[in-house]
Amino acid sequence: MDTIIDRGAPKARNFEPYASNGGSIVAISGKDFAIVASDTRLSEGYMIYTRKQSKLFQLSDKSVLGCTGCWCDTLSLTNIVETQLKSYLYDHNNVMQPGSIAQLLSTLLYSRRFFPYYVYNVLAGLDDNGEGCLYSYDPVGHCEKVSYTAGGSSGVLMQPFLDSWLAKRTADNPVSEEEALNLVKDAFTAAGERDIYTGDEVVYNIIKKEGIKSGVVQLRKD
């Protein structure tokens, strides 16, 4: 008697090149500032690798990149961005402007369209007029200029919160630096209560004409 045994597809693909290392980014732009913040927890599954890994990468005096997702991709991508910026500086004797960095980042992400960098990016900076600007990305390079955004593991928790406070703002009622920082702190505190991949500390950068101011806020450590 012939029995056909269906063994299914070959089971050789047991290496998973991606990890989800958690972490969240919030960014808000204003008339003369941009604020970008990340938590400092690096984790995988139920395991916390470290409690003090910032996901903010200062690219110049006027731009900071927030990058979360698969940490090994984050390291690689930010290294390439930093190297490209250095190369641009040496070629042109000019620091690349945030708008150009935004396009560069989109191109870099799309260059790996079929083996993506598994990362969520938020680029914050000051544009040519000294006004705050933000660019939000998806992992394959879709780029959108926004006035506020939340991304990473708690992006879906924090975005509606930011919407409720900021969606209906108009030019004659702009968000102040103080209000923006408080919203960032509140967003992370709330996210830390519900998302196990967000916690430990928040680091924030406030980008202004005079320079970049940074600070730390404590979050739940459990």
Binding site: K11, A12, R13, N14, F15, P17, Y18, A19, N21, L42, E44, M47, Y49, T50, R51, K52, Q53, C70, W71, C72, L75, S76, I80, T83, Q84, S87, T107, L108, L109, Y110, S111, R112, F114, F115
Partner: protein, 253 residues
């Protein structure tokens, strides 16, 4: 611009030559699994240096295969490295690092590799291999002194790299890491200071014992490597387990 390079696509860094096919062009998958494996590796920073611990067992599946395979490596006077995972991948990286050090020594310029540089280098090597879907199935701890400060960093098989004061991989991440964190936090809360060398070594010994009781792939022979500004010591140790605890485990009477 390097537009003339083969396979150039927008976003490729312009001066990097074509380094051959990568996973995006060559989607042949490999059944990459570790064969001869080692278990946890631990590391802890103390006031004047870093201590690493790893046992010397290499397993072949569930068989305890080789009982004397050391995996703490002295790189140069600044760095020690410990590995966990596939032992042959560790040997490959060890040989590559030794080549680097030979090249560096032959320059005879008095400049030597520093721990953060090796940490980054390892993260690039492992990331490149994971991107080719041919990973080196290893976790590395890099320990050393840089700018008079102790440095301890981990890199896993994906290229995930970070630095911390206490790191443990594998089963150690579940069983030993909480003990390491607790000891460091309590010392800091009590006297606002870091562990001393003796405390760090005693702590690692305790952790290796705890792991020996519950990690079936662990071993009673192990090594502790200690690096400070002016010394590297790697000592061979044997656990003296106390199986009296077994009486308190329910269900095996």
């Amino acid at each position: 611009m390097a537009l003339h390079l083969n396979n150039w696509i927008p976003g490729n860094f312009k001066s990097v030559p074509n380094t051959g096919s990568s996973a995006q062009h060559d989607i042949v998958q490999h059944g990459w699994t570790p064969i001869t494996t080692t278990t946890s590796v631990l590391g802890v920073v103390f006031d004047s240096g870093v201590a690493l611990a790893a046992d010397t067992l290499t397993s072949y599946g569930s068989m305890a295969c080789f009982g004397n395979n050391p995996r703490i490596l002295t790189v140069n006077k600044n760095i020690i490295v410990a590995a966990a995972g596939e032992y042959s991948d560790y040997q490959f990286i060890r040989d590559t690092i030794e080549d680097k050090i030979t090249t560096e020594k032959s320059l005879n310029d008095g400049i030597s590799l520093k721990p953060k540089a090796l940490h980054t280098w390892l993260s690039r090597v492992l990331y490149n291999r994971r991107t080719k879907m041919k990973p080196l199935w290893s976790t590395f701890l890099v320990a050393g002194i840089q700018n008079d400060k102790p440095f301890l960093g981990e890199i896993d098989k994906l290229g995930t790299a970070f630095a911390d004061e206490q790191i443990a991989s594998g089963y150690g991440a579940y069983l030993a890491l909480p003990l390491l964190r607790k000891a460091i936090d309590e010392k800091r809360a009590k006297s606002n200071s870091s562990l001393t060398k003796d405390e760090a070594v005693a702590l690692l010994k305790k952790c290796m014992e705890v792991l020996y009781y519950r990690d079936a792939r662990s071993h009673d022979k192990y090594q502790i490597g200690v690096i400070t500004k002016d010394s590297i010591e790697i000592q061979d140790l044997t656990l003296k387990p106390n199986w009296e605890v077994a009486k308190f485990v329910q269900g095996y009477e």
